[in-house]
Amino acid sequence: AAEKRKTYIVHMAKSAMPAEYADHGEWYGASLRAVSVAPKMMLYAYDTVLHGFSARLTPQEAEDLACVEGVLAVNPEARYELH
């Protein structure tokens, strides 16, 4: 499974954060742990230009995460090139 992991950009509905969480980072982590038992899979938590995070996921985990409440979209990472 580790070999199949790819980076995904996960968009979250910030206003949908359950009251039990103190901050969004905590909520993002809990959402990720709900679908993946692998440790330290989150790369970045975004706050200014995107509400969400990037994480290393298997395709199944990405699919499962897309169904978690508060998750808007789970998009695979893209590679860009210098011009």
Partner: protein, 667 residues
């Protein structure tokens, strides 16, 4: 950048546009964030002499890392961060012998782009004596913050988003991204997503259009909230002469500065005849037969591999020199490189003539003479053959690129970690390098945008872009249209958008096409984006498109027009029926009182049949900030699918000329 300030008309006595733009240390201080390969902070282009204290709004950091101290920043280079988690997660741990886990630029590209945008003036800059002069960024008094998001293995969107996230939070006023990916809808394009939020937070985002020209529909970074920049030439060349044994002399370009070829002619051979490979003409690694090329000049064709790598391959095979011939893909465009051996790049026509001589003469000979730097070359600018072209494949109703700027043979600062060719075998080290690409044109516009933001802090990012676009020129001083290097013929708005940037006019555009955040959301509704897709682009705001409202892409207050006719536009659905497409626009007065009158023109056989009706034809403004709307109806009979035509719509009060390009396509 030893030439572009003069070429752009902003070379003031004190190092840049003194008369038009305010000084740093005022409320108009602007920080340009450059997302790229990092920075070489020791470059003289980051000298902070004469700059006031770092503005109080600035929240950026100077991150320490391998070979990079937090003390590397100063009042010019106000921030330096790096984002590598996505890169290393995808590619494995980086090779720290080859790249630095820090903001340090191991490549040179990021140092080049950031110094182009806002580098300090550096007298006596040159590359081996070529392009000598004072190198300076377009906004020499703006601050620079670098966000290293590109690594030897590429630029990964998780890192790019992290860089944009930090740059906006830090307080950058302009972001410059000389990178791109494939065409994707905006909800899946990280640069478009990051740029939307940046725009909402009053940050102008300037991106390169891409180097996939001259083919059509090859653009990157086409979201309407991004300023998309194509590339044109300067009025500067680096001539070299290929003198053949038959006495004929062909002009090309070269930045070679080492030991010259002997004055006596050497044998010359076409690489295709010195290789057992079917693609031997391309001088790919391992394809040349050393016995056949030793001591000779080798003719290679452009394509597939990097131009400088071909030079290395030819030198490695034991040849004495190289003639690098353009093919139809590049036409007559000459891009100079600091090759490792005596070499000249020549246009397609010259290349064919030289190859013809080599094929017909039993003992062909030649020599190459490098002639230095030439300025006042005309015509200029010419659209670079490599510059990506429209139509916009993601949203054909938005004309892209927006504008062109200098992007061919640009001198700017370079890393101390790599030679000017970037090849591992190149052990030369230079303070400045000359390279080409829309990567180079983008930071020109980023710097100019910083100047405009500094001069007009109250203008939105859309207003700044509008000013740059509506004052751009699409004809030479004699009135003839800008040319395209790929064909040698007249270019079109699909090649140059509104035209070539003209900053001295952009500072006083008279009127601007402003666009609010809400209007961009309406645009997404017009594209029929779902609530989820809109939330992905515009973050998780509570926004939904109104069911009882009709949204139109043509209503986006864009400074250009892209009109797509299809049978669906016609009132009867028949292919011969006349179709009418309506666009509405609102102009905001950013000057004094004035009455503007409209004029329209069309070019090309297909466009001659298009009727353009503007209502009203006159707009009177009495005060700054006043807004007036107008409607344009474009009516045309059906044309064969794939046909295109062009035009221009201009509002003028006699002093200002507020010009919009028009592109018509029939589908």
């Amino acid at each position: 950048t030893t030439r572009t300030p003069e070429f752009l008309g902003i070379a003031g006595a004190g190092g840049g546009a003194q008369g038009m733009f305010p000084q740093s240390g005022t409320a108009a201080d602007v920080v340009v964030g450059v997302l790229d390969t990092g920075v070489w902070p020791e470059s003289r282009s980051y000298d902070d002499a004469g700059l006031a204290e770092v503005p109080s709004f600035w929240k950026g950091q100077c991150m320490a890392g391998a070979g990079f101290n937090s003390s590397a920043c100063n009042r010019k280079l106000v921030g330096a961060r790096f984002f590598n988690k996505g890169y290393e997660a995808a590619m494995g741990p980086m090779d720290t012998d080859r790249e630095s886990r820090s903001p340090r630029d191991d490549d040179g590209h990021g140092t080049h782009t950031s110094s182009t945008a806002a580098g300090a003036p550096v007298p006596d800059a040159s590359l081996f004596g070529f392009a000598s002069g004072t190198a300076r960024g377009m906004a020499p008094r703006a601050r620079v913050a670098v966000y290293k998001v590109c690594w030897l293995g590429g630029c990964f969107s998780s890192d790019i988003l992290a860089g944009m996230d930090a740059a906006v939070a830090d307080g950058c006023g302009v972001l410059s991204l000389s990178l791109g990916g494939g065409a994707a809808d905006y909800s899946r394009d990280s640069v478009a997503i990051g740029a939307f939020a940046a725009m909402e937070q009053n940050v102008l985002v300037s991106c390169s259009a891409g180097n996939s020209g001259p083919g059509s529909s090859t653009l990157s970074n086409v979201a309407p909230w991004i300023t998309t920049v194509g590339a044109g030439t300067l009025d500067r060349d680096f001539p070299a002469y290929v003198v053949l044994g038959n006495g004929k002399n062909y002009t090309g370009v070269s930045l070679y500065s080492g030991k010259p070829l002997p004055s006596t002619p050497l044998p010359i051979i076409y690489a295709a005849n010195a290789s057992s490979s079917t693609a031997g003409n391309l001088c790919m690694p391992g394809t040349l037969t050393p016995e056949k090329v030793a001591g000779k000049i080798v003719i290679c064709d452009r394509g597939v591999s990097a131009r400088v790598q071909k030079g290395f391959v030819v030198r490695d095979a034991g040849a004495a020199g190289m003639v690098l011939s353009n093919t139809a893909a590049n036409g007559q465009e000459l891009v100079a490189d600091a090759h490792l051996l005596p070499a000249a790049g020549v246009g397609e026509r010259e290349g064919m003539a030289i190859k013809s001589y080599v094929a017909s003469d039993p003992n062909p000979t030649a020599t190459i003479m490098v002639a230095g730097t030439q300025v006042d070359v005309h015509p200029s600018p010419v659209v670079a053959a490599f510059s990506s072209r429209g139509p916009n494949m993601v949203t054909p109703e938005i004309l892209k690129p927006d504008i062109i700027a200098p992007g061919v043979n640009i001198l700017a600062a370079w890393t101390g970690k790599a030679g000017p060719t970037g090849l591992a075998a190149d052990t030369r080290r230079v303070g400045f390098n000359i390279i080409s690409g829309t990567s180079m044109s983008c930071p020109h516009v980023s710097g100019l945008a910083a100047l405009l933001r500094s001069a007009h802090p109250e203008w939105s990012p859309a207003a700044v872009r509008s000013a740059l676009m509506t004052t751009a020129y699409a004809t030479y001083s004699g009135g003839s249209p800008l040319l395209d290097a790929a064909t040698g013929a007249t270019g079109t708005p699909f090649d140059y958008g509104a035209g070539h940037v003209d900053p001295s006019r952009a500072v006083d555009p008279g009127l601007v096409y402003d666009i609010s955040d809400a209007e961009y959301l309406d645009f997404l509704c017009a594209l029929k984006y779902s609530t989820t897709m809109i939330a992905a682009v515009a973050r998780s705001r509570d926004f939904g498109c109104a069911e009882n409202r009709t949204y139109s892409v043509g209503s986006l207050n864009y400074p250009s027009f892209s009109v797509t006719f299809s049978t669906a536009n016609g009132d009867g659905g028949e292919s011969s029926a006349a179709a009418t497409v309506t666009h509405t626009r609102t102009l905001t007065n950013v000057g004094g009182a004035g009455t503007y009158k409209v004029s329209t023109s069309v070019s090309g056989a297909a466009a001659q049949g298009v009727a353009v009706a503007v209502e009203p034809t006159e707009l009177a403004f009495t005060s700054a900030g006043e807004k007036k709307s107008y409607t344009v109806r474009f009516t045309s009979r059906s044309q064969p699918s794939g046909t295109s035509g062009f035009g221009r719509l201009v509002w003028s009060d006699g002093k200002h000329s507020v010009a919009s390009p028009i592109a018509f396509t029939w589908t």
